[in-house]
Amino acid sequence: MLYDEIPPEIGPFDAENMLIVATGPLTGHFLPASGKTHFGTKSPATGGYADSNMGGHFGPHLKYAGYDVLVITGKAESPSYLFISDDMVEVRLAAEYWGQGSITAEKDLKRQLGDEYQIITIGPAGENRVRYACISHDFGRQAGRTGVGAVMGSKNLKAIAVKGTGSIPVADLKEAFAKGKEAYQKVKAKPGFEGWTPEGTAGLTNWANEVGVFPTRNFQTSYAGHYKNINGKAILDRLKITDKGCFGCPTPCGKYGHTRTSSGAAYVEGPEYETIALFGGNCLLKTIEEVAFANYLCDELGIDTISAGVVIAWTIECFQKGILNSQEIGREIDFSDLDTVVYLLNKIANREGIGDLLAEGVKIAAEKTGNGSEQFAIHVKGLEWSGYECRNAPSMMLAYLTADVGAHHNRAWVLGHDVAGAWTSVHDLIASGAEHEAQPKAVVSDRSAQYVIASQHTRSLFDALGNCRLQMMELGFEEEHYAELYSLITGRTKTWEELLKISERIWQLTRAFSVREIDNFDRNIDFPPGRLYEEPIADGPNQGHVLSKGDIHNLLTWYYNKRGWNENGIPTKETLKAAGLQEVVEDFEARGLF
């Protein structure tokens, strides 16, 4: 839809850009964790393809109301929200909610409309088009990445509220119900059900430090000595009130709790691993309470915690190196300082002072700031890097370089191939008990391309199906179950292998979109910042390791070859034809893109 309707002349914040709110064929059905909602648009972060997804209950209710997909174009004349109650669809005024935080607006809308409404909101950051503004839901779930909240804000759209009281059809309800129940039993029988669930993704914190992949001090190193003060156990001991699950989830990773710090106290969902990595590691916040408070503030302001953690750490390093001074910033700032984080988040969300520069994202901020700050602006294509440091992890490095939305782990997670041997689930890895031993230098080989592509296809398929992948990825619940459920629910019999072919087509199409939209597209667009291939890791288990520029080129070349892309990373005519994308071939020919 984006490829057909949004040509290069239309910018991310132009009224003509689309915000596509999509469920998948499994969303809202009876199987583990079918609660996903996806947001697709032209990216404020990269100018190319963007999507971001969230769990919660919104997608299922959208389907019960009778809608698979909402396509939002244009721009409201004044702040508005979209109200959907089954067949009734209204654009309503939202003046009283505009300016409110995401959580406050959701609370007030629920109070006005009723608890049975599922609501998504943006905060001030979305209203002010911060390029990494998120869309929030269910008091702690976010479609965090790529600036989808800024696109929503550019349309003057504060919120969408939906109530669905209809039923969704199933080809073979009896069998699908039986198979769904069996799926729950099988997930419960996995070792990770008891072992992984209590801490959720935060359980990765120990392991990420023990093997040295934890982004720390603006990716200067990959190990944070205080990690046991910001890990999953710290959440359970000091913050947690309840587990908080998305629709149908048997293994809720959401940990809802309360935090108290010198900067304030708050109820907050999380922090999950990524937020711990980017605020606890990258900005060096000292305690889980501080990380949780930064998390809360991001949620309320409507800012992605990952991008924010990268942007703030970059700003602190600029200050330490004398590239930005306290007059430009408005005060002195430092790592390990919650006040610094609180100060900068508020500036960013409101685009005040230095915040106006930082709201553009680390790529644009570094380009405007110059003086060598591009070297340590940690992003790919303009999207800030998420929570895994990769200078001794070539497969994961390649995953970040080639993710269609920019430097995000959502598309492929292949660290298991870099730092461990055979593994079937993340729970296996965490339970493997790695200790702080010096890690051997990773071998760079063409196998990385095959690992990354396999993971990209698997994970994208979960996104396309509208189902969470964590039961498969973290617990090792087998993919074939999803194919069986897909077949019973839709009436179209498919094997997992057949479904994976959809992913291949998706990857060619999203790449083609970005090639068309991003000026002068070539392999440099896929390159990391200099720090990640020129500066050896400062300390920790991977001390001294770094991939060379030649390694990066080799990784990209192996990947491009396997994808059927040319040396600049552009899909060839034959590749696009083989994927059934004849209309893209014609468009590329007309635009001279081959």
């Binding site: 809202g28 059905h29 009876f30 583990p32 609660g35 209950h57 299922p60 019960y64 959580i103 609370k107 608890d115 049975e116 269910d138 008091f139 702690g140 669905g164 009281t165 209809g166 039923s167 969704i168 059809p169 199933v170 309800l173 119900f177 129940k181 729950y184 997930v187 419960k188 009130i241 309840t242 587990d243 908080k244 699950g245 998305c246 629709f247 149908g248 989830c249 048997p250 293994t251 809720p252 959401g254 809802y256 709790g257 309360h258 109820y267």
Partner: protein
Amino acid sequence: MELRPIHENCSGCSICRLACAIENFQEVNPSKSLLRIEARFPAPGDYCIHVCDQCGECADNCPEDAIQLQDGVFIVDQDACTGCMICVDVCPRDVMFEQKHSDIPAKCVLCGECARTCPRNAIVLVEEQESEVA
């Protein structure tokens, strides 16, 4: 038998409600569910499960005697019910439901599907004696 909610085990996933709707109405439509999950956010930040405990308030207040105890479960007699909805008003747990496409209210028939489905044992089926001891 009786349904017993264990609120602190609930993570709000609501799959119990979908299981209930499929089992009792053969529809993928949780709005037809005969139990409620109350999500109390942002504060105090927890879940409260509301299930029918077969207390009989509905039957006691039915002017038509259309709700009868059968094998420990209060059942609505669809022929005798006039749809006055007094039972909906008096239910202390708010789990007597008006239905969208019917004049007859609906209530839990103790099929136990919610308890069997819950992956976290937040709703359990217990013998009544066990329940009283607890």
